[in-house]
Symmetry: C2
Subunit: 429 residues, 2 copies
């Protein structure tokens, strides 16, 4: 863990190093992934079965080897303890409500020149969602990806997920039932992304692929970008907590650890104007961490990537936050509103003392798929827009054509495109 | 040129071949581009000067070698013939008006559970725009990229453009003046994209890079996707004209040729329910094409990629159009409105007989940067959203926290993330 004070003579340099630190290692799997994609494109289901046998020790023969039926998902949902079922239902309902308000409005207007102009937003026909197997297989992540797709109006939503040795995750299946997933395919890795992008005899092609995955999955998405739409490539998670000295150190310690327990490469940063408070938080992190079942990961993340910055005035946190462009920013202070306005680059902001980041991971409503690795400078969290596209349109009548057509013809001639000019001029006669 | 009739016994197969035909060749420049990016990242301006000398025969020494001053752009604008200046001004004004209405609204609401939820849209700090040199250097393209960035509120807009042997394009400079471009750098190719993404001593890093370019530029954008935001990778242009027999064949021939003259790999497709009309259009294409200064390109595109499909009823064009997901779709018919509704996948639709595609290239207002190569299935034209990003936010008070906190804690425990649960539970006490 790094301790910085803004009054340190080399603060700027040390802070710059933190901003520029890439916690994402180049994966070196590009050529292996390219081979897998090419093989699935050429051989389809045969290649899928081979890779699934090799990587997941799962044999794809009968239909039930390939797919998990909707009834299985419903049964998993019905078998949940009531408290968990209610929690998943509440999460789904709140995520749905938040994303419903994201649906963009169509435009259809006639401008002063008499030209009809507009735009129509429509969902893609089909979306694919990657759900990791094993430890990182989270029902909350399924809800956060699947619900925006369904709210957007996507008719066919196909999940791909590896089931090592045939094992499935009951919570994820229950979440798929709640979210209305249409198909679940028991394939994973780069080969699953290839199947979604190219299509095979069994798995029909989709238009957009989203969802988290390991280095192979991320590289497959990167290579297929343009063949299908994809969500932003995601790196290790990160949180920036800006806290005054009036917080309970136990609360802030828990918030920092909640990020750290995700991944040894995750990053938790505290900025405070109270050096004593910083020390108290550090102590509480040590105490709490020792009691976590995830302590190994959390400890490593905090030791390797944790940062505590003490500033003289909390306002000094604003330019630091904008440089960090963090995925999550907590504003644990008495007057957070000016900070919400001034921090321009952040995936999501958690305002005040009662908004720990974990509430946003599950039940607040906004999406928890957010830009990492300083990408909040230019990228946004997942939304219904990732599952929709816009078609613009124009219509003219002879009068409006006479008004703006000559300018188009002049520009076409100037650009050396005579057929463009011709298509205007034949209509001006 | 291919002629198909929907009644042909092998129509489905032939049509499928057209849909799946990739006119984009794999460029094979990936490793060369990777070398250039690495070298610019390591050596900055020194590498830029070396590449610019080698590829553009232009020496970067003094400031005026590196940059084109705003005064030079203003002088280029002032020197335009009045007709052209007015045409550029009209185009800019109409593009600006259309894109202004794209600015998304922020959200800030309190939901029934008492949770404050919202989202703030903000522009990126800086955007970079690639402008090709030589033949494909179009002032209209500069306006279509630069104006949405400025409408979005981007404070710093930097153009990079190669100036082979020092040559510049007066029309492009005039367009840069109109659009309010802040910097113009005389560098091009993959090295220019690297400079924008990584920053050098002279050229500050940007957040988003847009604009057309050759295979090297496209590959550089693809490799740097994630380091910066980029617009969709673009392929050769295409048009689908759906026309009844009541059109003037000369008009439709000109429209098809206007697409063909862009690029030998461009594609023009006509669907009509009138076989005689199809023949007339074909004749008029031959006559018009012979008179074009761009006839070589237009002829090659039409011969290699042109398609004419005769259907029995115009309604049969709808599923064909959805499968093609064309960049541009013209509806040259008496009752186009049902077609606008039913064609779900298209970059932009040109409604009625008085809306040739070229009017949209220049002065209609909607963006002419549109998804190609069937990507309208999942992608949209360039808009102000490409230069903005969204920060979501949440705020709870103790009462709303008690309402939804327990569900979050239950889910965190179920996902095996105890620090997540802890950060909720310390606040529930």
């Amino acid at each position: 863990m790094k301790r910085l004070r803004i009054t340190d003579p080399d603060f700027d340099k040390a802070f710059r190093r933190i901003v520029e630190d890439r916690r994402e290692s180049a994966s070196g799997v590009a050529s292996d992934v390219a081979d897998i994609l090419a093989r699935v494109k050429a051989k389809g289901d045969v290649a899928l079965a081979e890779y699934t046998q090799r990587f997941d020790d799962h044999q794809l023969t009968d239909d039930t080897d390939w797919q998990i039926a909707p009834e299985t998902c419903k049964a998993a949902y019905d078998a949940l303890e009531p408290e968990l079922r209610d929690a998943l239902d509440l999460a789904a309902e709140r995520i749905r409500a938040y994303h419903l308000a994201q649906i963009p409005e169509n435009r259809d207007e006639v401008d002063p020149a008499g030209v009809r102009l507009g735009a129509l937003w429509r969902p893609v026909d089909a979306a694919g969602l990657y759900v990791p197997g094993g430890r990182a297989s989270y029902p909350s992540s399924l809800l956060m990806n699947a619900i925006p797709a369904k709210v957007a109006g996507v008719e066919r939503l196909a999940v791909v997920t590896p089931t090592p040795k045939g094992q499935t995750n009951a919570l994820v299946l229950a979440a798929a039932h709640i979210a209305g997933v249409d198909e679940i395919w028991r394939v994973g890795g780069a080969q699953a992304i290839a199947a979604l992008a190219y299509g095979t005899d069994r798995i029909a092609r989709v238009d957009v692929v989203t969802g988290p995955g390991n280095a192979w999955v991320a590289e497959a998405k990167r290579q297929l970008y343009g063949v299908v739409g994809i969500d932003m490539v995601a790196g290790p998670s990160e949180i920036l907590v800006i806290a005054d000295g009036q917080n309970d150190p136990d609360w802030i310690a828990a918030d920092l650890l909640s990020q750290a327990e995700h991944d040894p490469d995750a990053q938790s940063i505290l900025i405070t104007d109270d050096p004593l408070f910083a020390e108290q938080v550090e102590d509480r992190i040590d105490v709490q961490c020792a009691m976590l079942s995830t302590r190994k990961v959390a400890r490593q993340s905090w030791d390797d990537h944790g940062v505590m910055i003490v500033v003289d005035h909390l306002d000094q946190a604003i330019p630091l936050a904008n440089a960090l462009a963090a995925e999550h920013v907590e504003l644990a202070m008495t007057e957070p509103e000016p900070f919400l306005d001034a921090i321009r680059h952040a995936g999501s902001v958690f305002i005040g003392r009662m908004a720990p980041e974990a509430i946003g991971d599950y039940v607040a409503g906004p999406n928890h798929v957010l830009p990492t690795g300083r990408r909040a400078r230019f990228a946004s969290g997942l939304s219904v827009l990732d599952f929709m596209k816009r078609t613009s349109f124009i219509q003219l009548d002879p009068a409006s054509f006479q008004r703006i057509g000559p300018a188009a013809a002049a520009l076409a001639h100037a650009e050396g495109l005579p057929a463009h000019a011709q298509s205007i001029e034949v209509r001006l006669k």
